[in-house]
């Protein structure tokens, strides 16, 4: 290998490393695309060499023809993930259905609730199989709450059984099940978050969005013993989920990254304000503090992604 060859290879390596940093695609898709582009550079350089250009200059020109790595990565991401109206509306359907189920009290009908959970899980798995299209994370964000809800229901059922039966085997079984279920659930949740983060921290943010209203509602159900259909908190949660659906459409139709981040911030403020309507007499300072906390929570994946990128750049 001569010096010219080494220089050209180093240049290509730097270019593709930069491109990889900005692509944020699934691992398999990323490898496939990088290989395709590397092949393209090799074909273009060969053609230039055949036309009489010196090998190093040919390679440099082939790389330069791809444009800036950030710009190419951005265009490819836009082409792959920019959502159509149909996709954006399909994404919003997940939150809209949840809102409907809560607002009408139909969530209390076990067959309907189980059917809804099965539909959400099926659509999420279908999205996973289709390579995580634009609407995927909106459905996954509802699907990944299912372990929390199922765990909570299982906890209630077990607690009731243990209270009624003095059999110590059952009590022990309940403890073992709880010990196994919750860590396992957390591992699954952490895995889903990391997988989303590896592609794009904005995907992880979408995944986190319904978590706060869903947990707040579960806590309310727990405190109240049960939630009557049409009670204020349940209606507020339904309203918030409908709002999340509308925000999802805005988020997916936004054609720049800055517009997507702005949608998240604006949505967080609007949803906190709307949710606080249930809280009569809430002070403005509390509203601002809640909004700030929610925005920090929703944008926290950006910090994790930034730290991961810094760690990767420090690594030799």
């Amino acid at each position: 290998m001569n010096a010219v060859d080494t220089g050209a290879r180093a240049c290509a390596r730097r270019y593709f490393a930069a491109l990889e940093r900005h692509l944020h695609l699934d691992d398999a898709d990323e490898r496939d695309l990088l290989r395709e582009l590397q092949d393209h550079v090799s074909d273009r350089a060969d053609a230039l060499v055949r036309a009489g250009v010196a090998p190093e200059a040919a390679h440099a020109r082939a790389i330069a023809a791809l444009g800036r790595p950030e710009a190419l990565a951005h265009s490819i991401r836009q082409a792959r993930y920019a959502a159509t109206w149909r996709e954006a509306l399909f994404a919003a359907l997940s939150s809209a259905l949840t809102a409907l189920l809560l607002a009408t009290g139909l969530w209390r009908a076990a067959p309907l609730a189980i059917g809804w959970a099965a539909a959400v899980a099926a659509v999420t798995l279908w999205g996973l199989w289709r390579g995580r299209p634009a609407w995927f994370y909106a459905w996954a964000s509802i699907a990944w709450m299912l372990p929390f809800v199922a765990g909570y229901v299982a906890f209630l059922v077990l607690a009731a059984n243990v209270a009624h039966a003095s059999a110590s085997v059952l009590a022990l079984g309940a403890v073992v099940a709880a010990c196994a279920y919750f860590p396992l659930g957390l591992v699954v949740v952490a895995w889903a978050l990391l997988a989303a983060l590896r592609r794009d921290w904005l995907d992880a943010t979408v995944l986190l969005t319904p978590l706060v209203p869903a947990l707040a509602w579960l806590l309310h159900v727990h405190d109240a013993g049960s939630a009557a259909s049409g009670d204020r908190m349940t209606m507020t949660t339904a309203f918030v989920f409908a709002g999340i659906g509308a925000c999802t459409v805005g988020f997916l139709r936004a054609d720049t990254r800055a517009a997507r981040v702005s949608t998240i911030v604006a949505s967080a403020v609007a949803l906190v304000a709307a949710a606080s309507m249930a809280d009569a007499g809430v002070a403005a300072a509390a509203l601002i503090a809640r909004s700030a906390l929610l925005i920090a929570f929703l944008l926290s994946p950006a910090l994790v992604a930034l730290a991961a990128r810094k760690a990767a750049s420090v690594r030799p």
């Binding site: 395709e36 190419l72 265009s75 082409a79």
Partner: protein, 115 residues
């Protein structure tokens, strides 16, 4: 040949049609598509890589083409793109609209509207 801004704008709006028209003849990989468009247009139309690859991703996502890794006679593997029936239908529609548009545009641009 350096393209005028006007032609560059026209080219941008018609990249998908040019790619699909090229793939209609035979499955090709990225570099082949660029060369085929340049050759067929006598060197007038040149699409950049920064336009081609995002367009290929978009067309794949829309189901108008599908990629397939293929071993060439040289033994090299390349990702070739094949036009799908959906892509063929869309291309036929675009061609028909383009025919109507260019005829109408020609009548106006040549001064037919004033007379």
């Amino acid at each position: 040949m350096k393209l005028s801004r006007y032609v560059t704008q026209l080219l941008k709006g018609n990249t998908d049609v040019l790619i699909l028209s090229t793939l209609e003849r035979e499955p090709m990989y990225g570099h082949q598509i660029l060369e085929a468009i340049e050759q067929a247009s006598g060197g007038t139309l040149a699409i950049s890589e920064g336009t081609l690859y995002p367009a290929l991703q978009r067309l794949t996502r829309e189901g108008r083409i599908r990629p397939r890794w293929t071993t060439l006679p040289s033994g090299k593997e390349r990702k070739c793109y094949i036009i799908t029936p959906k892509g063929e239908r869309w291309l036929a529609e675009c061609r028909s609209q383009w025919g109507e548009f260019s005829a109408a545009f020609g009548r106006v641009a040549r001064g037919g509207a004033s007379g």
